[in-house]
Amino acid sequence: MPTVAGLIALVFVISHLIPADPVALIAGDTASEEHKAAIRALYGFDKPVHVQLGNYYLQLLRGDLGKSLFTSRPVAEDLFARLPATIELTLAAMLLAVLVGIPFGVLSALRRNSAFDHAVRLVSVSGLAIASFWLGLMLQWLFAMQLGWTPLRGRIEGFPPPGATGLLSVDALLAGDLAAFGSALWHLALPTVTLGFPALATVVRFTRAGVLETMQSAAVQYQRSMGIPASVIVWKYILRGALTSTVTQIGLLFGILLGGAIVIETVFDWPGIGNYAFNAILQSDYNAVMGFTLYAGVVFIGVNLLVDLVHAVIDPREAR
């Protein structure tokens, strides 16, 4: 909680104190003097700093993130409308990273220094060195433009299925509309791979390291010495240990995904909050960018809190 308050203060500092003339930023360069004066009064820039900060807190408590200069709608509303798209993409990428990353990490550790291990390590090191937006473009070029296997952009062909969640693939499935479901999945494919790749690389690294370390532990040695079947030792006991450390990393992963979403959504024209932020930047839509920053920060903090909770549950030692 204090972190959130601090974050708000930081955003306030960035948006109100750093700019030489915040009014000009908000009103735009071509605004007239009276317009600027009106804005000054409206936003309270003539009041002392601590009053401004206080007002800012109050404003945020009301859920008011200001109005978008471009759409003239409340920023909060805009963000909320676009949220499901980003959630769908982020979840898909997270699933990819975890469901593919963990087994590969485990196998890589078990077959240490084999050709397989070297290949996996090569891929995971590369995953952290590739600029994700570039990867997205290259995948688009290859799979959408050259091979024509996947669609180029957007979320779905035709009309989106009616649905509660806003996650088009889920909605399509729930509505029994298999054509829409397929379309949604194909559209998800490239963005998910692009977004998930660095996260996948991270998961593989951490899982591999975790398994290697656990393999040396006395507990595993004991089970080996007592002839417990190797696959049971690996997939039941070692994996559990590796999972606890992966869970801790999920907070980090989420940060990667959230940050990556901005550029990825831009590349694939994915109508989520990242795309919104990008357009806001292009249009110098000041409030929108600040609103997004705050929003992203709060979400990130929230996820990390959640991860801490889950970790406490999974690892009974912490509960002591």
């Binding site: 006395a218 507990a219 417990i228 049971v232 039941k236 009974p316 030692r317």
Partner: protein, 353 residues
């Protein structure tokens, strides 16, 4: 106290290690950790393997169990016969399934670290019983299929009853509720008792106890040792007991073998061992034990690096009695008394002719 006697194929000798040579690959070269070790354990015997750190006793224990690290260690020569079967040449799957955790069980040195901290004790014992209970069939599931093997309900109840029964014998209070706890909720001594129980549950022929009391408080050590000895004698189980502490060896062992730098030096029944040591190293070890009224005697010199170990008898650089034959030839095992053999060119006790 009644002592059980087990019927064993292969006669009186349960375990025979013959001329075992094991080396480890290290950055500096090959370390010859075991240099032709000969060693045996008879029916119902508690045999102690005594030596300083690095003498190879843990490696020997692991070699018998078959859990040497495959990428670092290599067995260069020798054989291990268990109940007449050559362990080193049997199929690995067979050994892991039928012998390890069933005929030969293990008590680790560190009861703190040997339990998986994330799982309750009951579930860890159950896992063991699922595969290694005397009621379990041997040699059925292999590979990944073991993940899907189920623990038959009918057996569970009977197994659980055996477990609770044995836990009482090792003096764990209220066993049924105790095992629902996590490992860190037990004290060190209690954890070692659990380990002892787990080593007995599969009804093995041989227990390998690797320095089982080193990590425990001195006051608890004696208790644990007495308990272990009583339980194995009751069941006629043999024990290979490794330690660097002569005192504990004296407490629990019927026979003691001394090792130095990967070579066994002397073997004798316990009383004889302490009364009439034949090997200079043994004598020095005994002298270095703290005694009231005597100054502590050191053994001069250092344990050799095993990459470039001395030739012949590896103790010769530190031995007062060494001569040039000691550097050249490793002495063969010769009798100096009843069941008392020594490998020395200049033993302290006259050889039997």
């Amino acid at each position: 106290m009644s002592e059980a006697v087990r019927e064993l194929p292969g006669g009186e000798t349960l375990l025979a290690v013959q001329d075992l040579r094991v080396s480890f690959a290290t950055e500096q070269g090959q370390a010859r950790v075991l240099d032709g070790v000969n060693f045996d354990i008879g029916r119902g015997e508690v045999v102690g393997l005594v030596g300083e750190s690095g003498c190879g006793k843990t490696t020997l224990a692991r070699a018998i169990l078959g859990v040497l690290p495959a990428n670092a260690a290599s067995i260069d020569a020798g054989s291990i016969l268990f109940r007449g079967e050559p362990l080193l040449t049997l199929p690995v799957e067979y050994v892991a399934d039928t012998i390890r955790g069933r005929r030969i069980t293990f008590i680790p040195q560190d009861p703190f670290a040997s339990f998986n901290p994330l799982f309750r004790v009951a579930s860890q014992i159950d896992e063991l019983m699922k595969w290694k209970s005397p009621r379990a069939e041997a040699g059925r599931r292999h590979g990944l299929w073991s993940l899907f093997a189920r623990y038959p309900r009918a057996r569970r109840a009977a197994d659980r009853a055996s477990v609770v029964d044995l836990l009482r014998k090792v003096q764990i209070p209220q066993p049924e509720s105790a095992i629902a706890k996590l490992p860190h909720e037990f004290s060190g001594g209690q954890r070692q008792r659990l380990m002892i129980a787990m080593s007995l549950l599969p009804d093995p022929d041989l227990i390998i106890a690797d320095e089982p009391t080193t990590a425990l408080d001195v006051t608890i050590q004696a208790q644990i040792l007495k308990l272990l000895r009583a339980l194995v004698k009751e069941r006629g189980i043999s024990v290979l007991f490794t330690t660097h502490d002569m005192g504990t060896a004296h407490e629990i062992c019927d026979r003691i073998t001394v090792m130095y730098a990967g070579q066994e030096m002397e073997t004798a029944p316990t009383a004889e061992f302490f009364a009439r040591p034949a090997h200079p190293y043994t004598a020095k070890l005994l002298e270095s034990l703290p005694r009231p009224g005597h100054e502590i005697q050191e053994i001069g010199g250092e344990i050799p690096a095993l990459i470039d170990a001395p030739g012949g008898c590896r103790f010769h650089p530190r031995c007062d009695r060494a001569s040039e034959v000691c550097a050249r030839e490793r002495p063969p095992a010769r009798a100096v008394g009843h069941a008392h053999t020594v490998r020395c060119h200049h033993p302290l006790v006259a050889l039997e002719s």
